[in-house]
């Protein structure tokens, strides 16, 4: 996914921040100080590091590459950039990461992206179409299937569109609440006691969604400033419902925007210099 999304239309340009910035700041605010967070690459990584650089200096960021309690100066492009190891408290093997740190029950928040989410917050990062005959083969689940069940709760972050918000995902890579919203409730007790609450927030560039109590269907609980309900309806692949008490998402504060922009600027400068290296070497 691209890191930089221009403001999309004139109405939004009136705001002093982009929708992506709105999304990132909102996601960052969801992370409490001291929380242990298992961080997916891309948007979640951006939001988690923004949290660390603003209100949550002691948030513990853990990447599946084995880097524990890491404090990167620039955003990693990959889940295993050197920056993550160099600024980590310690780096463990990948088996240890998944066994002791994730499955061991030490993660408060699993912070995930995905290609698609459905109305019961199930995630698809495997493929579009039929498994044996896919229309689009996606990269696959990676760490997500177990991040989604072993973390105490899960935050999901992705851009809102009919392509990403579908009624039913073609493939459940990572459990939200299952095909009928009741899969977690119906787990046998020996399993349930080790499985987290599942997705509690889905943060998009338009709004924040949460599972409705009981049905676990995703409903809009907070709308970003300047976004209409119709716009959310148009960008959602099912008949999206709105909570009885929909709030307006607080706008980004100046400090967060400043920190985010500085982080992205540092990151771009860093990656550009890497690119320059490559250009030089490719010319040889």
């Amino acid at each position: 996914m691209s890191d930089t999304v221009p403001v999309r239309d004139g109405a939004d340009a009136a705001l002093d921040y982009s929708f992506e910035e709105m999304m990132t700041v909102t996601a960052a605010r969801a992370l409490g100080n001291g929380t242990t967070c298992f961080v997916g690459i891309g948007l979640p990584s951006q939001a988690a590091n923004l949290a660390r650089l603003t209100h949550a200096p002691e948030v513990v960021l853990i990447y599946e590459s084995g880097t524990v309690q890491t404090r990167p100066e620039v955003l990693p492009l990959s889940i295993g950039d050197g920056e993550l190891c160099e600024t980590a408290l310690t780096t463990v093997s990948v088996p240890e990461m998944f066994r002791y740190w994730l499955q061991g029950g030490r993660i408060d928040v699993g912070f995930l992206g995905a290609a698609q989410v459905d109305r019961y917050a199930n995630l698809n990062s495997t493929l579009i179409g039929d498994y044996r005959n896919p229309k689009v083969r996606l990269p696959g689940g990676g760490g997500a299937p177990e991040i989604g069940t072993h973390s105490r709760e899960v935050f999901i972050m992705l851009k809102h569109s009919k392509r990403t918000f579908v009624r039913d995902v073609d493939f459940i890579t990572t459990l939200g609440f299952g095909r009928d919203g009741q899969a977690r409730a119906q787990l046998p007790p020996q399993t349930a006691s080790h499985v987290g609450r599942g997705p509690t927030k889905v943060i998009t560039d338009l709004c924040v969604l949460a599972p409705e109590a009981g049905s676990n269907e995703l409903v809009v609980v907070s709308i970003h400033p300047g976004v209409s309900r119709d716009r959310i309806r148009d960008a959602t692949g099912w008949e999206i419902r709105f909570s009885d008490r929909v709030e307006v998402t607080p706008a980004p504060d100046a400090r967060s925007l400043e920190a985010l922009r500085a982080l992205k600027a540092r990151t771009e400068a860093h990656h550009d210099s890497a690119q320059a290296d490559f250009t030089a070497s490719a010319k040889e």
Binding site: G82, V136, R137, P139, S281
Partner: protein, 280 residues
């Protein structure tokens, strides 16, 4: 016992058509040079195993080396899809690619169990996921103490594991440092282990609990400076994120891909090959 061999000799001696080969490296220390040598030697019908097949496997798949991929995440990290892999899976080009797909947790457990000499790994996993429906290697056992149903997967036991590491000492003991991934497990789980290193040194000179592979766990070592480029070697050179970004355009087009591979992997004389990715 580790023998120092040229990369050409190591691949030629140990990697056979039809073998199950794991070139491991979790973003860091990916053994690109070794993979390129496999491509140059024209190996076919390989089962490629890896948690995170990235550009290197895109190249091997695109060049027709593989008939099957065992994996848990196949993409260009931070950039997007692997277009050569997609072409093989979606359109059978240059040949169909069978997939055996796991989660990272399962692959990590499976290597770990392989290193531990066990036939299976037991984990709490795949709960509510559709992956068990498409992967017959995901089964279950019941815990005899708690009754909990747990996922069971066969351990990963590749015929050949290939990794890149920072350094080997004269005796062939190897140090892996930084993001160590599943490299130790892959080596210990494999029948044959090949290692490329940045350099050969007199002493590893490291921490008592560093990740060191004794020479007698390794079959061959090849000294290949920058052998992980465009991936990186902690303490030696950084990840070439620019190259990863540029790969997307190269790999989208069959001809552009073929031309790039010819120019950068197939045709260069070995003296030139080793300078791919050198900054000066």
């Amino acid at each position: 016992m580790a023998e120092f061999l040229s990369l050409e000799e190591a691949i030629s001696r140990y990697v056979e058509d039809g073998a199950t080969v794991a070139l491991e490296g979790f973003t860091h220390l990916i053994p690109y040079a070794a993979g390129h040598e496999i491509i140059r030697q024209g190996r076919r019908e390989l089962t490629l195993m890896r948690m995170t097949p990235d550009i290197l496997y895109d190249q091997m798949i695109g060049m027709g080396c593989a008939r099957k991929l065992i994996f848990s995440w196949g993409g260009n990290p931070g950039v997007g899809s692997l277009h050569r892999m997609r072409d093989a899976v979606e359109r059978g080009y240059p040949r169909p690619l069978e997939l055996l797909e796991h989660s990272h947790a399962a692959m990590a457990h499976a290597y770990e169990a392989g290193a531990a000499g066990l036939p299976l790994a037991v984990m709490r996993g795949y709960i509510g996921s559709d992956l068990p429906q498409v992967n017959p290697d995901i089964r279950h056992i019941e815990c005899p103490f708690t009754g909990e149903k747990l996922a069971a997967i066969p351990s990963n036991r590749p015929d050949v594991a290939i990794i890149h590491a920072q350094k080997a000492d004269r005796a062939g003991n190897v140090l892996v440092e930084g993001i160590i991934g599943v490299q130790k497990e892959a080596v210990l789980a494999a029948r044959v282990a090949l290692v490329t290193v940045e350099e050969r040194v007199d002493e590893l000179d490291t921490h008592p609990n560093a990740c060191v592979l004794p020479a007698w766990t390794i079959d061959a070592i090849s000294v290949v400076p920058r052998g992980a480029w465009p991936s990186y070697a902690h303490g030696y050179y950084a990840r070439d994120n620019g190259f990863y970004k540029s790969w997307d355009a190269i790999a989208r087009d069959r001809d552009a891909f073929a031309a790039w591979m010819r120019e950068h992997v197939i045709e260069p004389q070995s003296a030139e090959r080793s300078t791919i990715g050198s900054p000066s």
